[in-house]
Symmetry: D2
Subunit: 137 residues, 4 copies
């Protein structure tokens, strides 16, 4: 099942054209990712603090369908699309209050050992946690 | 010929893992896009102020190869990959001072009439301006 | 009575030293200000859209007592300290989940006519709205 | 002598009212602070990496005189106002290309031992470095 995160479009997220600056839409996705991790019992701050692994991105992409306007309450539906040996793929669908589809996005995270800077296996506890929001294909 | 923009990685761009938060890398690309437009005589602020058209993104993607560390001077090489009737595609390659390839990115912008919110033809003066940094395929 | 807004410290708000970059603490205050305005029936987006007035800042200040750490749920207690003819002063107190005082801040907003760029009287409906969270001295 | 840093107002720094969101003006100040430290041979990234001390803010304040508009090249004049045993105060004056005074700001930084989280003496090499841009009173 996807995880849902709600986020108000803030004044400072938007630009002179009155719509959200595109890079901030990736911020919304990462917020949903942080909340999903918290929800499944492995908050990102705890993962970082444990020095076990960090989860930098190898890839990010998004298709923007409709403008995100200031004041709108956005629902980000986040799901785990796949989990590999050393990386995993997240997918995000974003909607406004009326249910209009605003954007789709995806991110690929790599498990990296902070001591060596090299990729490493996705930890067992993270693998179990991610499975809770993994969507069958 | 690609356009080159240099940008120092700032303290506030980075996260607790000590590397640039991925969404900020898209910000670096957009800065290069803004400087390219300024360089070819059609600054984005002038385009917006003219109310002729705005240039929201329909798509963005990036592959992150190496971490962007605080203090590094990043070179963003921006080029116009293609210009269609109502949209155009920008491509970005990012390097550190030693010439290491840090990331690749691309953005697709759509010309939109701010009065109607609908897509419109890329203006003639913007088309001419973009041609200066269009890269042959 | 002060207005309360809660906000999780996000990964991207923090810097390599592991604590929130100070400018983001002002962002948290402005979020509380936006939510307060929404709560009293005059959302900032509606004020801006009406072209009646904009509310830029003339002054901002903050004292930072304790670090804001990633993952912490911050409570921002916002109150209207005073409302003058053409400006008003907001005050903010920020606490972590344990009730520790993290920071104090204040902002002074000026009512400006967007057509002329000059200061103007705080609108009657905004004055009434702000009174709901004005704190007696 | 003050240190001068120049910074273009970016599209994404501005809000729907078309001017820079106030918290970003503090970002401009911190950029000038980072460049000043780099200029005097003690880059902030090197200070952080040395684990000798971190320099979080105890206080920040700003007076905003005129709007910062998108596309404007801002000059930030940064100076060291005073250096105490465990803290120092920076002052910033900001101007547009025509020399109009846009804003004044100040920040107080405390030297903190990252191992204990407690304040510590400003390091000798930082004290010497800051003296180069200290302004007599």
């Amino acid at each position: 099942m996807p995880f849902e995160h709600q986020r108000r479009v803030r004044f400072q997220d938007t630009d002179p054209a009155g719509i959200v600056f595109f890079a901030n839409i990736f911020v919304y996705c990462h917020e949903a990712f942080e909340e999903l991790l918290r929800d499944v019992g492995t908050p990102l701050d705890a993962i970082i603090a444990s020095r076990e692994q960090i989860l930098p991105l190898a890839h990010a992409e998004a298709d923007f369908k409709r403008p995100f306007r200031v004041g709108v309450l956005v629902t980000v539906r986040a799901s785990v699309a796949s989990v590999g040996e050393r990386s995993f793929r997240m997918e995000y669908e974003m909607f406004d209050e009326a249910g209009s589809h605003l954007a789709s996005a995806a991110t690929v995270h790599v498990a990296v050992d902070p001591a060596t800077g090299r990729s490493t296996a996705v930890s067992e506890r993270l693998r179990i946690a991610l499975a809770k929001h993994q969507v069958a294909r």
